[in-house]
Amino acid sequence: MGIGLTHYLVLSAILFGLGLFAIITRKNAVLVLIGVELVLNSANINFVAFSKFNKLNIDGHIAALFVIMLAAIEVAVALAIVLNIYQNYKHINVDEVDTLKE
């Protein structure tokens, strides 16, 4: 049994579902970010897999590169916001943060 396109697609579907579960169930902002990272990784696996098996040549790789770059930006800005929330609230539970400014 050879490893085909569907193997990679199912693997990325499982990764997507796990990331979605983390985003839904976790209160800690860092764990929500971990879920977002898992979802972005699953999307990247899809891009690269289609790039190999469907002769998208290099376009899928470029899309994956930009997704990785955006993930880095997102984590940097989100971490800054999380640190600010921690200074104001002394915790980072996303469901209890309900005011924009003290």
């Binding site: 396109l5 193997h7 579960f21 971990i34 994956a64 971490l79």
Partner: protein, 166 residues
């Protein structure tokens, strides 16, 4: 045969470590399990002939994003208190969240398995992709490349401004 062994090894590694990252009660365990997930995904990229993406994955995800996440855990948790535990919602909500996630997994997998993808099986060329990626970044994708550099600059300034102590 070797491809099968490598794929299943990395697939099991990815799924197990992602499960630990998602289900663990300790934030530190989650972040370190994420390390193995990222390594596994990098291995999958190598298996897909995407050498440059694999290196970028290791450099940016493991060298950058994971370190930032560990910083986030360390700076926002009191190690001495129980605050390092991740807050979790009740059993009822967890059950429904798990059900929804399983339904999403099943739906996407059904679509992936039942669709007749237009695959072209003749992937004979195995050359390095770095030269091609560099050429297309500076020709076809030049606008996206340059605007992403501006976006990075804005993000750095914004993050520094937000995180600065008043």
């Amino acid at each position: 045969m070797l491809v099968e062994i490598v794929f299943w090894t990395f697939a099991v590694l990815i799924v197990l470590s992602a499960l630990v990252a998602v289900l663990s009660k300790n934030v530190i365990y989650s972040v370190f399990a994420l390390l193995f997930t990222f390594f596994g995904v990098a291995g999958i990229y190598v298996l897909l002939n995407a050498d440059f993406i694999a290196i970028t994955q290791i450099l940016i995800y493991i060298g950058g994003i994971l370190v930032l996440l560990i910083f986030g855990v360390m700076l926002t948790s009191n190690i001495t208190s129980v605050d390092i535990r991740s807050g979790q919602i009740g059993v009822f909500h967890t059950f429904w969240a798990g059900l929804i996630s399983l339904l999403v997994i099943a739906g996407i997998s059904y679509i992936a398995l039942s669709t007749n993808w237009a695959t072209s099986s003749s992937h004979s060329e195995q050359k390095a992709t770095i030269e091609t990626i560099g050429n297309s970044l500076l020709t076809n994708y030049l606008l996206a490349f340059e605007s992403s550099s501006v976006l990075l600059l804005i993000a750095i300034i914004g993050a520094a401004l937000i995180a600065r102590r008043k």
